[in-house]
Symmetry: C2
Amino acid sequence: MLRRHKTDTAPLLASVEKHIRLSDDEVAFFLSRLEEKTVSRRTLLAKEGEVCKHSIFVVDGALKSYTVDKQSNEHVISFALSGWWIADMYSLIHQKPGVLRIEALADSSLLLLSKQKQEELYERIPKFERFFRIITENALVASQQRIINNLTLTAEERYLTFTEKYPFVMECAPLHNIASYLGMTPEFLSKIRRRIAIRK
Amino acid sequence: MLRRHKTDTAPLLASVEKHIRLSDDEVAFFLSRLEEKTVSRRTLLAKEGEVCKHSIFVVDGALKSYTVDKQSNEHVISFALSGWWIADMYSLIHQKPGVLRIEALADSSLLLLSKQKQEELYERIPKFERFFRIITENALVASQQRIINNLTLTAEERYLTFTEKYPFVMECAPLHNIASYLGMTPEFLSKIRRRIAIRK
DNA sequence: ACGTTTTCTTAATCTAGTTCAAGATAATCA
DNA sequence: TGATTATCTTGAACTAGATTAAGAAAACGT
């Protein structure tokens, strides 16, 4: 078998074929649109102030996106583990300077789909409109659920919900990133953890 | 001209045709999928515990979606004014019991697209995949921006940002709904407003 | 292997925002 | 029109969570 990619494209194809059916030619065309990239921990994939050029699919490893405020506090907006997409959606869609940094939490192998190649993909294989519609819908549901949690739960409840829902993120992201994602300080998360430990 | 709908479909068609080009037949088919509904203030369009059956397009008027917690506090998740869509996306997509109530803030005229007819629409006119992909992308960007604001801004900054971005919501939603949407109590919003008024 | 940086925790102090209680005004509806 | 209900505000007491400072342990780069 001829492998155009050193990076393993199977996880991405599995995700695509869960939603749309592709011919071999279409698969080949799709794969030829992708750029592979392996990065080491701490590599920046996108930076605030720059236009975000790619959607990133994580084949293996872990990324996070975050903003840095004037007091240079990081605010983690999202995590992406194996099988997830990540991007600065605002910047990517409107092709305007973004507000997010995207950084590798661990050595990672990625597949990048540039905005331009994504548009070509829609032109050539309209079924991909469907795929990305569904992916985006799922992301929207998750985003709204997070808003609901932020509005209705206490810091401790948010932490417990997170550990149940995303145990794998717990394993690869430092606690202060998780605190930030959950909207609290690392010190307070530490207190919560002790509270929970003592209760048991 | 034969009017299938008493409700004015022009705003919705304008929004659709901003993103995809339709033939007259396709327009007719699309419109035939829609159900029109006029409701008075306080009418419930969806209720927690029930499966959400429709995407709702607001032609005229205003809706809100919200959850009610155990202490029977309302938490406003979203507003929808003329030209906006609203739904309990989780419930609609997965066809499982939802967590949101959707309620009219004012007498409103609506166009409803049922989950089933939406699927039929995708079958018959695949271009609609594109339309809803774009609509969903925009909703996701807005949702993520709200998360960023919640993580990085103070209550006062959130209020000021909101009044600038959504002046029309300010005009038709009661203040305690806006406080709830912004993640603060109505009493505190009131204090913020006084603070701002005094400063001027 | 060792110095440096990152990660995580603890404790004291502080504050942004909540809770509770009450009153004023404006809408709503029979 | 008059009673009722919703909206908005004010103030005092309170608390969930932030801030500041510091130390211990682990991970990392060279």
